[in-house]
């Protein structure tokens, strides 16, 4: 009877091998897919057990911390100051997840990226805790910017042009990040009109109006095709792409130089410049400035929109496409849509002598014991233009504030360089989107700003946006 017993044992061996094979299948071969399965809440529950690090503003103001929510679980708690920074800061809850800086610096905040340190901590019997994030954000200026928007949807961005450190990323409407942790409050938030969850500074896409003429000027001067003295006709009604283009209020100028054309924001002059510079050159400079790709800042990919010429379906269109009316792109029209942060980057590239720095909100990572683990160093995106071009554009922008459309941004005793923009949103109802980009002090810039307000009836960049830029710069230069 022993032979069948051995065969039976053979069968049992096969059955057990099948079990080991299937276990390997589950634990190793298909594990990735199982971990990514949307029904798998393990990763989220895991996070609940980690004491996330705190997030602070540049002056040490506490924005977010974790408080105990159970024997082994923690929950995010946002301070009242965090309400000022809700959009860039984001939130971190098991449901609905993470956004903003909370998501971008999740590795550090959750302690996942601590690597060796967390292993050592574990050996020493210490619980793994996340590191703290110190940001570059300035609560006083942020509060001021938000109050200046005065309940009008829009955004204010201010950054240090020499480092890219973002000081202000204010917007309206915003929200209380604590509400994201409450199912009902969050559902209400998502239904609320005006899209408060949208980070307007990095995701809001708006027609830039005449502020884009700065980009055209950079391309024209740096490519060597033009000088600040180049003269062209500023007559209203010059045909651009076969359609007559008007100046603001139908004003006509004779033969004017570039400086005058920028100071008075003469549409026909700049449209001709754009046509003469040509699509490939303009495209080159737009791309050097960061257009045509998600705006460069330390936020998750999904929260960074691309500035550039858009198709009707919302995709980015190559500026060299034959469907693009380059003359009108050159003055900020023609389906050209930009984010406020992108326009602040344009100002900051000019301010920083032609070198564009990568905007960032993270300043440093500090561990639980207060030691600085990592300092987020300023990072160069690249040189956009020569120092000489930057100086020439700066001089023209100074004139805009001194004697042109942007006089409302002038600061006492400090030179300001700027450019206004007034994009037509609904000409029949005279609804516009005012813009202002600027930097100051003009010769040794410490701050670059972009201000925009959605839909102002009869608004102008010079009267609605420039005063806000002025006050925010004043606060930051204190």
């Amino acid at each position: 009877m022993n032979a069948p017993i051995r065969r039976l044992f053979g069968l049992v061996v096969l059955l057990m091998l099948a079990l080991i094979f299937k276990t390997s299948w589950n634990t190793v071969f298909t594990a990735e897919a199982l971990r990514d399965n949307p029904k798998n809440a393990r990763d989220l529950l895991e996070q609940e057990r980690i004491r996330r690090g705190r997030i602070r503003a540049d002056d040490g103001t506490l924005l977010a911390r974790s408080v105990k929510s159970g024997a082994e679980t923690w929950r995010r708690s946002y301070t009242s100051a965090a309400k000022l920074f809700a959009n860039p800061l984001g939130y971190a809850f098991v449901d609905p997840g993470r956004t903003g800086l909370e998501a971008a610096y999740n590795g550090e905040l959750s302690g996942e990226d601590n690597g060796l340190r967390s292993i050592l901590d574990e050996l020493r019997g210490k619980r793994v805790v996340g590191d703290d994030l110190i940001t570059t954000l300035d609560p006083a200026a942020q509060r001021l910017a938000e109050s200046l928007l005065a309940g009008r949807p829009g955004a204010v961005v201010a950054l240090d042009p020499s480092t890219g450190a973002v000081k202000v990323m204010a917007q309206y409407p915003s929200y209380d990040p604590q509400d994201a942790g409450d199912r009902k409050a969050f559902a209400a938030l998502r239904r609320r009109s005006g899209a408060p969850l949208l980070d307007r500074a990095t995701q809001g896409l708006y027609p830039p109006g005449s502020t884009f003429k700065v980009v055209t000027a950079i391309a024209a001067l740096d490519s060597g095709r033009f000088t600040p003295q180049s003269r062209l006709s500023g007559k209203t009604g010059i045909p651009i792409s076969g359609v007559p283009l008007d100046n603001d209020d139908g004003e006509s100028y004779g033969s004017i130089d570039m400086d005058t054309a920028l100071t008075h924001s003469v549409n026909t002059y700049w449209a001709q410049v754009a046509e003469q510079v040509g699509k490939p050159t303009l495209k080159r400079y737009m791309e050097r400035l960061g257009f045509d790709r998600p705006v460069a800042v330390d936020l998750p990919r999904g929260e960074r929109a691309s500035s550039g010429v858009h198709t009707s379906s919302g995709a980015i269109r190559d500026p060299t496409s034959r469907y693009v009316d380059i003359g009108r792109v050159g003055i900020g029209q023609e389906k050209l849509l930009v984010t406020p942060l992108q326009m602040a980057m344009v100002a900051s590239a000019v301010a920083n002598g032609g070198v564009l720095m990568r905007p960032h909100m993270g300043a440093k990572i500090v561990d639980d014991d207060g030691r600085t683990v990592r300092t987020i160093e300023p990072e160069e995106i690249g040189r956009v233009m020569t120092r000489r071009t930057a100086t020439e554009v700066r001089e023209m922008m100074k004139h805009v504030v001194k004697e042109g459309t942007g006089t409302a941004a002038a600061l006492e005793g400090i030179d300001v360089a700027g450019k206004t923009g007034t994009a037509q949103k609904d000409p029949s109802r005279n609804i516009t989107q005012p813009w202002f980009i600027a930097f100051a002090p003009a010769d040794h810039p410490r701050i670059a700003v972009a201000v925009t307000i959605e839909n102002v009836k009869g608004g102008y960049g010079g009267t609605d946006a420039a005063p806000i830029a002025k006050r925010v710069m004043q606060e930051l230069l204190k």
Partner: protein, 434 residues
């Protein structure tokens, strides 16, 4: 070295594992566990020693490796249960005490286990009665729709755990008598060997009763375990693969019918095929359990997350339903990874190897068939539950022997172990004497 000294030495790894495991879990979860809870580990070691002494005195020649292997399994289980719930670990330790009493009682009462043969029909009836117990109104306590549990007052148990032993004892003793005549009197019809009805009759009755129960208990996994044990004994007794083929075909037909006609079983099969289907996932008794089981295994990876590190619950919300019974293998795969899980399967395989070894060493047919049957049902039970948890086959609510939490399972498997050791003791003694 004598068999018993080898056994004692082989207990060292289990004691190290239980000590290490308890310490690891305790260190990881010291904020939730009380200091006294470490005592369960010490109690467990004392029990192992007590069992060893029982064997040393009563069965000096029994297989030296079987008990240490079982101790290893039990300690795996106890550490895992301790990690899941301190109270359950205490109860499990108590069940080990009761299981050990049953173990000792079996050895003492059945020193001459051949006596079992005399009561074979009584035992068969008892086995079938036990299986039918969960159908009795008033005491039935269905487990996820399968009629496997019984609840009398505060005590609930799964009679199937005991019934599997009874059926094996009956089949083994019956076939000891009739296996020769079944072969001699057999006729060949259309290429198949058909045993004479007279001798096959009682077997067919048991077989039929068990087939009927497939419908009544509504659980293919448990039925598979019973039929597998039955067919294994039949096969070893007659060495006729044709009997097995007929049996498998009958079982397959029955299983197909049940799978398509009994809603509870077909729901289980649907859940097995599409565990991530939204409708099935949210349904009561749907695929949530198997899906979570797979997630837990994926979480473990190759080396696992370590003792006490896996997430099994969030607050009062249990991520893994029945983590301490049905899904204990998933928790092990989560915390110890593929390495630990495969190691556990290897331990089970070694137990099976010892069991079949005992069967080959045994001199008389009854002992051989008994050891074969017990080892097969034991192995099949492992296959049914681990196969279910890993989604190899539809998930069934049986326990992982010696590892899962559960009184009936512990006590029944200790009796099974005692029987195997009894057979082994006699076989090896006879082998030594020549």
């Amino acid at each position: 070295m004598s068999a018993r000294n080898r056994e004692l030495l082989a207990l060292v790894p289990s004691s190290l594992l239980v000590t290490g495991g308890f310490t690891a879990v305790f260190v990881e979860r010291d904020n939730v566990l009380s200091n006294g809870s470490l005592g369960y580990g010490a109690l467990f070691l004392a029990l192992c020693l007590a069992a060893h002494l029982i064997i040393r005195v009563t069965l000096p020649d029994a297989d030296p490796y079987l008990f240490p292997l079982v101790a290893l399994l039990a300690c795996f289980g106890l550490v895992m249960i301790y990690r899941l719930d301190e109270d359950l670990a205490r109860q499990q330790a108590q069940w080990f005490v009761i299981g050990l009493v049953a173990f000792g009682a079996t050895i003492v009462l059945l020193r001459d286990y051949m006596a079992l043969e005399r009561y074979r029909y009584t035992i068969a009836l008892a086995g079938i009665a036990l299986l039918l117990l969960p159908l009795m109104p008033g005491i039935k306590a269905p487990v996820n729709g399968a009629n496997l549990g019984v609840k009398i007052g505060p005590i609930s148990f799964q009679p199937g755990e005991f019934s599997k032993i009874a059926i094996v004892v009956f089949v083994a003793s019956y076939l000891r008598d009739t296996r020769q005549v079944m072969l001699i009197g057999a006729r060949r019809v259309a290429g198949l060997t058909i045993p004479p009805l007279k001798h096959f009759g009682p077997l067919a009755v048991v077989f039929g009763a068990a087939l009927l129960e497939l419908f009544l208990i509504r659980d293919i996994g448990t039925s598979l375990m019973f039929f597998g044990g039955f067919l294994a004994v039949l096969y070893v007794a007659t060495d006729r693969a044709s009997f097995v083929v007929v049996g498998v075909v009958l079982f397959a037909l029955g299983a197909y019918f049940v799978g398509t006609h009994v809603p509870h079983v077909s729901a289980r099969i649907d859940a097995w095929r599409n565990p991530f289907d939204d409708r099935l996932y949210d349904a009561q008794g749907g695929s949530y359990q198997i899906a979570q089981s797979l997630f837990a295994q994926a979480d473990g990876g190759v080396f696992g997350r370590g003792f006490g590190q896996a997430i099994v619950s969030s607050g009062s919300y249990h991520l893994l339903p029945a983590a301490q019974t049905d899904l204990i293998y998933a928790v092990i795969a989560d915390e110890l990874g593929l390495a630990g899980a495969a190691g556990l399967i290897c331990v089970f395989l070694l137990v099976a190897q010892r069991g079949f070894k005992i069967a080959t060493l045994a001199r008389d047919s009854f002992s051989k068939l008994l050891a074969t049957g017990l080892t097969t049902v034991f192995s099949l039970q492992v296959f049914v539950i681990v196969g279910g948890v890993t989604k190899l086959i539809p998930l069934t609510g049986v326990t992982l022997p010696f590892v899962s939490y559960g009184g009936s399972s512990i006590v029944a498997n200790f009796i099974l172990l005692a029987l195997l050791l009894l057979v082994s003791d006699r076989a090896r003694r006879e082998a030594v004497r020549g």
